[in-house]
Amino acid sequence: MLDYILKRVFQLVPALLLVSVVSFSIIYFAPGDPAEVLCTGPDGNVHPKSVEEFRIKMGLDKPLHIQYLIWLNNVLHGDFGYSYRSEKPVFDHIKRAFKATFKLSVVSLIVSLVISIPLGIVSAIKQNSTMDVSCMVGASLGVSMPNFWLGLLLMLLFGVYLNWLPVAGYGTGGDLEHIILPAITLGTGSAAVTARLMRSSMLEALGQDYIQTARAKGVSERVVIGKHALKNALIPVVTMVGLNFGYLLDGSVVVETIFGWPGLGRLIVDSINMRDYMMIQGCMVFVAILFVAVNLIVDISYRYIDPRICYETA
């Protein structure tokens, strides 16, 4: 198992290097000069002298490949540089934003699972019943409803009319009352997809011969479903939920923006708007690492729940 993990981690190195090159260079090909943006005075005039100073201070005067190597070396030492704007370490910003996003992601995931897994199972068991049909219609609605719209609706209903929950914001540190609405907004979208997958893989599992074997042993229907079928049906669902969680962790720009949630998605968009190069690069690399890490964890857990995988050579 350890061999496998090491091997997988090793395989990630070229991919991550590529990400670093791309994220480093894309920004230099993009129009707009950070030094000029930042050194524009309140009167709208650019002061050439301060632009020059800023360039030298931030190392922007050196050739591109040297800049890259310096940056890469720093990144490898855990130093993502300084934000041009706040002049604080990039990593501090990322850490703070990631904490917010992580909280939101976990709660959304819980919301999503609590809705989707039972609904998917019930729909599968009562296939073609009114219950099943209404669940699946609900799921279709859930998939097709855009997040910003759902978010605004929830905000209107619970924040404005009922006045139960704060409309937006982070509170003192992402408190529960602030997290509920964005989490529901994010959770329902993925719940719809998960419920459909849960239903179809449950149906498939229930049609297998080993289910008949279990019934022939005299096992009750509850155990047949909850143990024999569910364990098989969860295999594809776990993969999908894991990948979904990976996406959640990157931060949802839309939901974070609507609800004023200071997460990764917003951090990235803000830094792009501000041409905060160091920050954009740092975020891109961070998100890439996050994504491959989540993938790796999913793969490993997949091997854990599906015993057939372990013995194949990966």
Binding site: D209, T213, R215, A216, G218, V219, H228, K231, N232, P307
Partner: protein, 305 residues
């Protein structure tokens, strides 16, 4: 079983998978059920276990130890399954749950029916695996089905069926797809374990049936066409279908039966076998023959017998 019928209503018409079957299996007897593919053998087994999908319409009676199994409640039926009547399903490769340990799959029924705790049930499962001659059974119980070969999976299925010491075992094609040596071993195993039990052995393989069974029934297109002791079927087959089946054995010249078995939706009028029968007469085309007892215990559904 008295006048047992299992029909499946489908969009194309009614599938008469089991049609008016009367037969009785005695205590400690091995009863063979033989027929071509698709004639309804598995459906008959599942009907006894009451494991058919809800769409199936079942009529008739299945009397087991004085009770009609078609009338008992579902919880009571669960008590019968695995404990009193066990079914070894065909196709061991897909009939074992791929994500549960083999030991757990065997122990499950033991825990359920005999109320043993986890550890004792596991002990018993190891013992069962040993009794179907799987080497180092205690290590094997914690493995998963994909680590077993085909013959070993079949043994596991048998161990699972025998786990609670049922009095009737329905074994659906336990020797299908096994090579000759493994087949011989499985046959030997079945002979040994079924000495004390009644067994309904479903098979394509007349050779296997001859070796294992006391009595044999031949099934054709959902109904029985002949049944008698294994000896009599072998020495004195009366139905043309039985003769055809015997003639297709390797040591009897491998002569196949002509034609195909009919669709169970659109059965031929008259005798169901007449389109394939060399001796068919006008009567066979018009009238459906009844089962008649030609000798004591030897029943045939043919005008010619």
């Amino acid at each position: 079983m008295i006048n047992l019928k299992t029909h499946f209503p489908t969009p194309d018409g009614i599938v008469r998978a089991v049609d008016r079957i009367d037969l009785s299996i005695r205590e400690k007897e091995t009863f063979g059920l033989i027929g071509e593919t698709g004639c309804g053998k598995t459906v008959l087994g599942l009907t006894i276990m009451r494991l058919l999908p809800p769409s199936a319409a079942v009529e008739g009676k299945i009397i087991y130890k004085g009770k009609n199994l078609l009338e008992v409640s579902e919880p009571e039926m669960r008590g019968v399954r695995g404990e009193e009547i066990a079914m070894i399903l065909q196709n061991p490769t897909t009939s074992l749950n791929p994500v549960l340990r083999v030991g757990e799959q065997i122990a499950e029924a033991i825990r359920l029916h005999q109320g043993l705790n986890k550890r004792d049930a596991k002990e018993k499962a190891i013992e069962m695996l040993g009794s179907v001659r799987i080497s180092s059974p205690s290590r094997r119980t914690s493995e998963y089905p994909h680590e077993f070969s085909g013959g070993m999976k079949q043994r596991v299925m048998i161990a699972m069926g025998l786990a609670c010491d049922p009095s009737l075992i329905i074994a659906d094609e336990p020797t299908k797809g096994l090579d000759v040596t493994i087949k011989a071993q499985i046959i030997e195993l079945i002979t040994k374990v079924t000495e004390e039990k009644a067994m309904l052995l479903i098979t394509h393989d007349l050779g296997v049936a001859m070796e294992l069974c006391d009595r044999i029934a031949l099934m054709y297109a959902g109904e029985l066409v002949e049944y008698a002791t294994a000896r009599e079927i072998f020495d004195d087959p009366l139905h043309p279908y039985t003769r055809g089946f015997l003639g297709s054995l390797p040591n009897r010249g491998l002569v196949p039966i002509h034609g195909m078995s009919p669709s169970l939706i659109d059965l031929p009028r008259g005798c169901r076998f007449h389109p394939r029968c060399k001796h068919a007469t006008e009567a066979c085309r018009r009238k459906h023959p009844d089962m008649v007892e030609v000798e004591a215990g030897h029943f045939v559904r043919c005008f010619d017998a």
